[in-house]
Symmetry: C2
Subunit: 444 residues, 2 copies
């Protein structure tokens, strides 16, 4: 009998694996259970559909169930796995459309159940006008709501990446948008001083800000904060994402960072023949050298690919991440990698930090825009720890330079010496990343 | 008596040094001899003045002679050093305005005589309508010519970085522009297949191309090639730049790569107390581990800074370059770093190469543009050797990722694993650089 591989979840982590499994085991039976209506899509693209830049959520689908079926994969949509029996080697599944249940045995299992948006127990959070944006199903609901009736006032709760992008989306739609955040500044994954630049950008682009503000409840037509009552036709929750690891926990799989499924560098869980990848699984932070939790499409794709190679009999490892992330709010770009100053402090690392102001291109070019770079290094050794960038067009993707330097364990002097590309339409003769390193090196 | 430091040349290499010397030796007498009319300027910006994007060549000056004089530096403009007497420890100088000569002793000397454009002995090359674009004085001449009379047809000779940028400049001015290149494709610092993409872009942006074409002579109003006679109101020479090392050679300083002044990692020449930096000096290639010659503002600035720190009594090294360069022709960006396939072959390295097609941003985003990445690695070891990128807005600066990886000596599998920034407006979930590495790794 052919080996049977069961995959729970048909998004990035699961589907990246399947392509690799199929390549290596052409005869294996591969069964995917996906509880939603979509496979293999870019949830990160949802804000751009809402903004009207991308014509419909279907555009976000990288591969349809049919395309996987053409690979001989048994894709079962609207099928929710309700239990994993590790000892028995089977899963219990509910067909949510047919309302039937079934049991299926597996030789190897990939748990790719993804993430789920945080939904704190705030009164009224279950109301229909409060929307998450984690899945394409969420997006379909939100879009239907935004387009159906009048949608003139939107409140976005949470000023992280999703919050920022959804605020931009509604500004682009011409909707009055208010962003509520419980912190002093939006983007708490940045240091407060860099977050302040994002606050300025949000205001500049017409977003009303309510900082240091807690949401106490939702009622139809309003968000009640600890300070006031904000009228809202639609609410977007951008409070963050956690691992959808309940099923794994109940099955007895070991959980790790932030209750994500613990995996080794081969994406193998604590149970033989059981793998995990994507937003439900932990990953490894190459700067702190600790397990961490990162819900990002890049990590899901890479982890899924590695899991797939290993399930397929190959041998691959996913070494981990350095904490890179990027976003934008209208014309203002933002990115980070490694550790912020606050994170370095938390990790107990003696550190120095420096922020410089420069321009995206040679200062005399008409398209030169302001750009701030904050760089953090270990005191004494000079080892690079991280950087944050806020600036105009072309600023944020430069974080990749720092990300590679972190992977390679460079010190700040080595960053000063990097042979980065220069021509006036692209950079000043000293790239802003190099300027930051050049100034930081003086403090070490 | 105070130490006297003489600097020959007032552009990037010399002037970057002076700031460092002054910081460390507040009492030293610093004398700069500059034969032209300008100090410390961005010659790379000349095409953008010609294009009308930058309002006047004065905008390209980073620091005027007056600003250096405020630092207590004795800047003598229109003074050409005609000889260096190493044994006697002095230079001979001609004041080209007063038409007098003088001799000046030095304790330490920095030779920063820069580069000079190639001017092959083609009949008519001395004619007034044939322009180089190496100095601001050249630019002033060219602009005066372009703006004075009718300038409806321009021929650019040489399809390297300068040629490309000058062709763009004249296209932007609405001038009929023809580019003549003796090679099969423009941009011979790229492999031929990538150069073909640049040829396509040039044609697409309205530049007439004459490839595999040699210039036989210039006569007023025309460029005579081996195939035809091209009418031209103005000719731009973009054949390349060589080191302006004649003075150093005559003084007996050792020359190195491409007859540039030989220096060690501290920018010290073969003579005690004599230093060199900028387009007249060689540098070190960190991939080939050989001395090389690179005429770029980045190298001049970094080398000058290191020379200055050392002249000032500090201890700094400039490790070298990995061969990064970037340019654009209208909407098409181009960049390279490390070794091309042709260069790897020349260096006798067993290698593999792969070219991938992707998009600058997530494929479903409205601003996604095609982007090609060619990556080269050592066969067997998988050591990354270089990459070339051609594509739309946002494509070329990604070369920095590869440049850092080259500095760090990463192999291609390590590139696949890099945690690069992803969000739909910036990249697909697999950055094109990672896709190239992922495909290349299969060949190793």
């Amino acid at each position: 009998m052919a080996e049977r591989i069961v995959v729970i979840g048909g998004d990035a982590g699961g589907m990246a694996a399947i392509s690799q499994i199929r390549k290596r085991k052409s005869d294996a039976e591969i069964v995917v259970f996906e509880k939603g209506h979509w496979t293999s899509y870019s949830a990160c693209g949802i804000p751009y559909v809402v903004a009207g830049q991308v014509a419909g959520i279907e555009r976000l689908v990288a591969r349809t169930p049919e395309q996987f079926r053409e690979l001989g994969v048994d894709v079962r949509m609207r099928h929710e796995v309700t239990a994993i029996d590790l000892a028995g080697g089977h899963v219990e599944v509910r067909d949510t459309e047919g309302n039937t249940t079934l049991e299926m045995g597996f030789d190897q299992l990939l748990v790719a159940t993804g993430g789920r948006p945080m939904r704190p127990p705030i009164p009224g959070i279950e109301l229909g006008f409060v929307h998450g944006v984690q899945t394409l199903d969420d997006a379909a609901d939100l879009l239907a709501h935004a387009e159906a009736g009048r949608c003139r006032r939107v409140v976005v709760v949470g000023g992280g990446y999703i919050g920022l992008e959804m605020a931009e989306a509604f500004v682009e739609r011409g909707v009055a948008t208010t962003l509520v955040d419980s912190n002093e500044q939006p983007m708490k994954t940045l240091d407060t001083d860099m977050g302040a630049l994002i606050a300025d950008a949000l205001r500049h682009h017409g977003v009303e800000l309510r900082l240091c503000t807690k949401v106490r409840g939702f009622s139809d037509g309003a968000v009640v904060t600890d300070a006031e009552r904000l009228e809202a036709d639609l609410v977007v929750l951008g409070i963050g994402v956690g691992p959808n690891s309940q099923l794994a926990r109940e099955a007895g799989l070991r959980l790790g960072a932030r209750d994500a499924i613990a995996v080794d560098r081969r994406q193998h869980t604590s149970a033989a023949g059981v793998w995990s990848a994507g937003d439900c699984a932990e990953t490894f932070h190459l700067v702190t050298r600790q397990p961490t939790y990162v819900a990002l499409g890049t990590v899901a794709n890479k982890g899924g690919r590695v899991a797939g190679i290993n399930i397929g009999g190959g041998d691959a490892v996913f070494p981990g991440v350095v904490g890179t992330a990027i976003s934008k709010i209208c014309a203002t770009e933002v990115a980070r990698t490694g550790l912020t100053e606050a994170e370095a402090r938390e990790a107990g690392l003696a550190h120095v930090a420096r922020t410089i102001e420069s321009t995206t291109n040679a200062g005399y070019m008409p398209n030169a825009k302001p750009m701030s770079v904050k760089m953090v290094a270990e005191r004494g050794s000079g080892r690079l720890l991280g950087a944050q960038i806020v600036g105009g067009s072309g600023a944020a993707k430069r974080i990749d330079t720092v990300a590679v330097a972190l992977h390679a364990g460079l010190d700040v002097q080595q960053v000063v010496d990097l042979d980065l590309a220069y021509a006036p339409p692209f950079s000043g003769v000293w790239d802003p990343v190099l300027i930051a390193a050049r100034e930081l090196v003086k403090l070490i």
